[in-house]
């Protein structure tokens, strides 16, 4: 699908490049000593090859459609004062640079590489270290950010910007990047029709992925690990989340994914492992969740009573302390054909579907919801007794929150 979409673009790009493109070389031993000089001489669609070395370019503004290639990772140092590269032309390619030490400011959003209101920009195979914002796109259209590594090491959220930051952009392709130590690994606000694929985002101060007001986007096969607060996807619709892994997002307010005000979306084939809460959802509607796996989370799924029309089918819940938690008795969602390892029913007709419904919300989890300090009684005999009696005669737990066709064996994924 993506290849098919890309192919015409690639063809156009190949033929559109003028045959007269020159190559300029920048380096210690070359005629041109710095990149800014080369940019002045260069004609549109030229290629500038930058040799190894450290370049103090202050703020390098690219105002022509240029291909900027780094040979053996030349360093562009922002000296903690400047924005390293600002892209102010279309069709720019930046490839193979080490971009480090951008300025930090609470007024200006300094970035390692910033795209300002442009399209067809490719940023590929760069290494960004200690930048305030890493790669920043405002009003970027059809930009590709591929195989970059971004690393920052600030301790305070205020001192740190986002790794890949996209604002009011469209048709972005963010693939194969590794982001760590930033405030948010990948940040999307008002970004549409975009793809986030095969990235790794870990040990960021706040969210691995922060996603707001961004419709019709897909994120697939990413790994979000060990982020301060997990992943937040909010106020968006038509979002597709496929085969991502959400791992070890610990802490009081950390979630595998926090879903808030999401509608018409699909969540399929994701793995949630060892998070405080696998998914926390609030005000979510018309979302289909299939073939996800929840392993060893504190809460597999926390679903607030404000959610409706959520279809939860063919998911695996294995080794979670609590499978499902909720805060009210209203249930407008459908739980069906899931595998729950805590299910104790039987299957007399051997059709691999349990004969009695499973209630994933335990009474004790309702008690904790109302009175958090009751956590002190966790796994004591009295809570087991409470849960048992509640299973026979539900009084506190929502009567309709049940899986009528629980599977006897885990779903094969």
């Amino acid at each position: 699908m993506t290849i098919k979409k890309l192919l015409p673009l690639l063809l156009i790009a190949a033929f559109a490049a003028p045959a007269t493109a020159r190559q300029l070389t920048v380096g210690k031993n070359a005629a041109l000593k710095n990149i800014a000089q080369a940019l002045v001489i260069a004609a549109p669609y030229d290629t500038i090859i930058v040799q190894q070395g450290i370049y103090h370019e202050h703020n390098l503004v690219i105002d022509k459609p240029i291909t900027l290639l780094g040979k053996d990772m030349p360093v562009i140092d922002g000296e903690h004062k400047y924005e390293n590269i600002s892209v102010k032309a279309d069709d720019v390619v930046i490839k193979g640079f080490k971009v480090c030490n951008s300025g930090i400011s609470s007024i200006t959003d300094y970035a390692g590489i910033k795209i300002c209101n442009r399209h067809n920009i490719t940023i590929e195979g760069n290494y960004l270290e200690n930048c305030f914002f890493g790669i920043y796109s405002q009003y970027g259209i059809r930009c590709t950010i591929r195989n970059n590594t971004l690393k920052a090491s600030q301790k305070e959220e205020q001192q740190s910007g986002n790794g890949i930051h996209c604002w009011k952009s469209d048709s972005m392709q963010i693939t194969g990047n590794t982001v760590s130590g930033h405030r948010d690994g990948i940040y999307f606000e008002f970004v549409t029709n975009s793809l986030i694929w095969k990235n790794r985002s870990f040990r960021n101060l706040r969210y691995g992925l922060h996603f707001m007001f961004s419709n019709n986007d897909t994120y697939a096969s990413n790994i979000f690990e060990n982020n301060g607060a997990g992943v937040a996807v909010m106020f968006s619709n038509h979002v597709r989340m496929f085969r991502n892994t959400f791992r070890e997002n610990w802490g009081d307010a950390a979630y595998g994914i926090l879903l808030k005000e999401i509608s018409d979306s699909r969540i399929e084939g994701n793995v949630f492992k060892k998070n405080t809460s696998g998914i926390f959802m609030e005000g979510v509607s018309r979302v289909e969740m299939h073939k996800n796996s929840f392993y060893g989370n504190g809460w597999g799924l926390k679903i607030q009573a404000s959610c409706m029309d959520i279809k939860l089918n063919n998911n695996n819940f294995i080794g979670n302390t609590f499978d499902v938690g909720t805060n009210g008795s209203l249930v407008l969602n459908n739980f069906d054909h899931n595998y729950w390892d805590k299910y104790e029913g039987y299957d007399l007709d051997k059709n691999k579907i349990g004969d009695i419904p499973y209630r994933p919300v335990s009474m004790y989890s309702m008690v904790i919801e109302k009175n958090p300090p009751a956590m002190i009684l966790f796994r004591s005999f009295i809570t087991t007794l409470m849960d048992r009696s509640e299973k026979v005669l539900p009084s506190l737990t929502p009567e309709n929150l049940k899986d009528d066709h629980p599977l006897m064996k885990p779903v094969q994924l």
Binding site: G298, A374, I376, R379, F381, I382
Partner: protein, 255 residues
């Protein structure tokens, strides 16, 4: 004193109940670990059993044993032996036998299946609970001469520590839901050795769910070296206080 302890230990072994208890623990531990493919889950099942069965067996067996050996105690008292050493010997014999039974029945297989800090803590907890409930049983047995009353009291005490206490805690939690009682709760857990042990092991094991605000406060306290040492000390108090009180009663008792 050593002679009496030896005699009591032999007597308990001859009695065979402790051997059956050991075999039972062994059977349960082995079946739990071989049935569960996930050792973490196995450990949780073991924790539940440990908090339930170990106190029950310890307290009931010890109470009955003391009542049944009342004639033997009378005989010993008629000898030139101090009452203090008689009583402490009985305690040592019982505590030693039950702790050994636990180590042999549950501890060793647990270590074989999972060699970790958690299993070491579980074994420590099991031994502690065995000894604590022997000590409580001694107090129950010394307070009344009536065997039925004494055993009844033991059962009630067990019920109190494993069920009623938690019920009261839950009730209090809801009564004082509007107040910041998390810190006070740490103090309350010290009032029940079973709860104390449970929380100590859980903080090592099932942290994810305990991560809320309460969990954070508990972890702040019990997660530290100081907290663990303090809880160990509280457990020792739970052994010493009932034992010393029962010893005082026994010293003045008209047999």
């Amino acid at each position: 004193m050593r002679k009496i302890v030896k005699y009591i230990l032999l007597d308990i072994l001859k009695n065979k109940i402790v051997l059956v208890y050991t075999a039972f623990l062994l059977l349960i531990t082995l079946s739990v670990f071989s049935l569960e493919d996930n050792t973490q889950k196995g450990m949780l099942t073991m924790l539940n059993l440990e908090l339930f069965i170990v106190p029950l067996v310890s307290i009931i067996f010890s109470t009955i044993y003391i009542y049944n050996s009342s004639e033997f105690i009378e005989l010993l008292v008629s000898q030139p032996i101090r009452r203090r050493s008689i009583w402490l010997s009985i305690f040592s014999g019982l505590a030693g036998a039950l702790a050994l039974a636990f180590i042999a029945g549950s501890g060793v297989p647990m270590l074989l299946f999972e060699r970790s800090v958690i299993s070491m803590m579980m074994i420590g907890l099991g031994v502690m609970l065995s000894v604590i409930f022997v000590s409580i049983a001694m107090l129950a047995a010394v307070t009344t001469r009536d065997k039925a009353k004494g055993i009844g009291m033991s059962i009630l005490l067990w019920l109190y520590f494993s069920l009623i206490f938690d019920g009261i805690v839950l009730f209090l939690l809801f009564q004082f839901a509007d107040y910041p009682i998390e810190k006070a709760m740490i103090g309350v857990t010290a009032l029940n050795p079973i709860d104390l042990g449970r929380i100590l092991v859980l903080l090592k094991m099932d942290v994810s769910a305990l991560m809320g605000y309460t969990g954070a406060i508990f972890k702040d306290f019990f997660g530290t070296q100081k907290g663990v040492l303090l809880s160990f000390f509280v457990m020792l108090l739970w052994i010493a206080l009932p034992l010393l009180y029962s010893l005082r009663k026994f010293n003045h008792k008209d047999l």
